[in-house]
Symmetry: C2
Subunit: 246 residues, 2 copies
């Protein structure tokens, strides 16, 4: 298994669908989209459907029965008007999401999902389901795995690289190979912060941005919680993620 | 002092020349342009003039007396036809470069230099003059420092990030502040590899590329040699770097 990491969607090479393209893609948005997706599916959401465009999200969600849909979204870390929830992983509790389709748009995470949606296997990872995703990859042994971070408005993000390093650490320990410089650096980042991932999330510029918006202690704690969930959010149709347990 | 690091020229924000812009820029191309620049100036070259365009380089160099000029360049790690030297730091010995103007073009390093050429203070750094550049910055205390890596064909490079971390480590120890996620990650990279920077250079994709081209042991050893030179290559006119000793 050859594993690469790309900081943001724009860095992903044009090889998707070609023989040099990836056999599996793993999307990362630690603060907070892929953490929220993991928790929502763990807590019984029917599926999460991701949108880059808000109008498209509103349009599609209207085709869904009102009592079984929820609209999730944020821009700049704040909840959107007319939406049911923001982008907090601590809000997607079973009482709220059980059996529901979550229509989700986020500032950055959706772009990465869109960039890799044509890869034959697409998953999302966050720290709480890091080991679950690693186990799935080690079981299925795709030849080339591309991890894609979400970043912040197109730029590098520390917390996504931390999670890339965390996932790679588990894969490399089982024999996977590091296929680019970005992943080497992510491994060093994980080595430095693995004993206190929450501190890394708080030092990251996006973590500092959340802190400036108000108290997000519960979010930080949730997003930094390692290996707590067995769910692997997996794309089952374009843009739609469902819970697959390892 | 607020210190940021940008992986490649394309990541550098458009704030140069504005009030949010940098007061000093430090260009990094560990393999091998800024290592070669440091050694060439240490060994007595009159100046190094950097070019992105080869035709422009040839044109400008013809205005210079033949006996006091040298043409340096590579594309894809190989020397260019009609040039005197490639891009190896072990070739710029005193007998060759003393008193000469070096007209230099490299695959990636020149782009970063061009991107920041309008910043009021522009320096180059590599591992051999890491401490010299740190001392200069700590003496002059520019408010905002932007480090810019060269990368490889527009993508992230491990070895430039290692040097960014090495320089930042010296600055942060003296009270400088880390101003972006890229620099936080570079510090983690340096923490992991500082006891064996040559191993990091060899594991980097560009290091592997050099190894495939042939034996580059002397180059690796030279590029990984930490804190050996007191020279700070400094832009004295657009595109022209001269030796300033701390």
């Amino acid at each position: 298994m050859q594993v690469s990491y790309f900081h943001v969607a724009a860095d992903v090479p044009d090889a998707i669908g070609s023989v040099e393209g990836p056999d599996a893609a793993v999307v990362i948005d630690v603060l907070r989209a892929t953490t929220t997706i993991a928790w929502a599916l763990h807590n019984g959401a029917e599926a999460v459907q991701a949108f880059a465009d808000l109008d498209e999200l509103r349009l599609q969600s209207r085709n869904w029965p009102e009592q079984t849909r929820l609209l999730l979204g944020e821009r700049g870390g704040r909840m959107l008007e007319g939406f049911d929830l923001g982008n907090s992983p601590v809000a997607v509790i079973p009482e709220v999401v059980q059996g529901k389709r979550l229509f989700m748009s986020t500032t950055n995470g959706t772009r990465a999902l869109q960039r890799v949606r044509d890869v034959s296997v697409v998953m999302t990872v966050a720290l709480p389901n890091r080991q679950a995703v690693a186990q799935r990859l080690l079981r299925d042994q795709p030849e080339r795995v591309w991890m894609v971070g979400s970043g912040w408005e197109g730029t590098y993000s520390l917390e996504d690289s931390l999670a890339a390093g965390a996932l790679a650490d588990a894969l490399v320990a089982a024999g996977a190979q590091v296929a680019n410089d970005e992943l080497q650096a992510a491994l060093a980042l994980w080595a430095q912060w693995k004993h206190d991932p929450e501190a890394c999330l708080r030092v990251a510029s996006h973590g500092q941005r959340l802190t400036r918006l108000g108290n997000h202690d519960a979010d930080f704690s949730c997003c930094a919680g390692l290996d707590q969930l067995s769910v692997v959010p997996t794309q089952t149709e374009p843009g739609v993620l469902r819970a697959i347990r390892v």
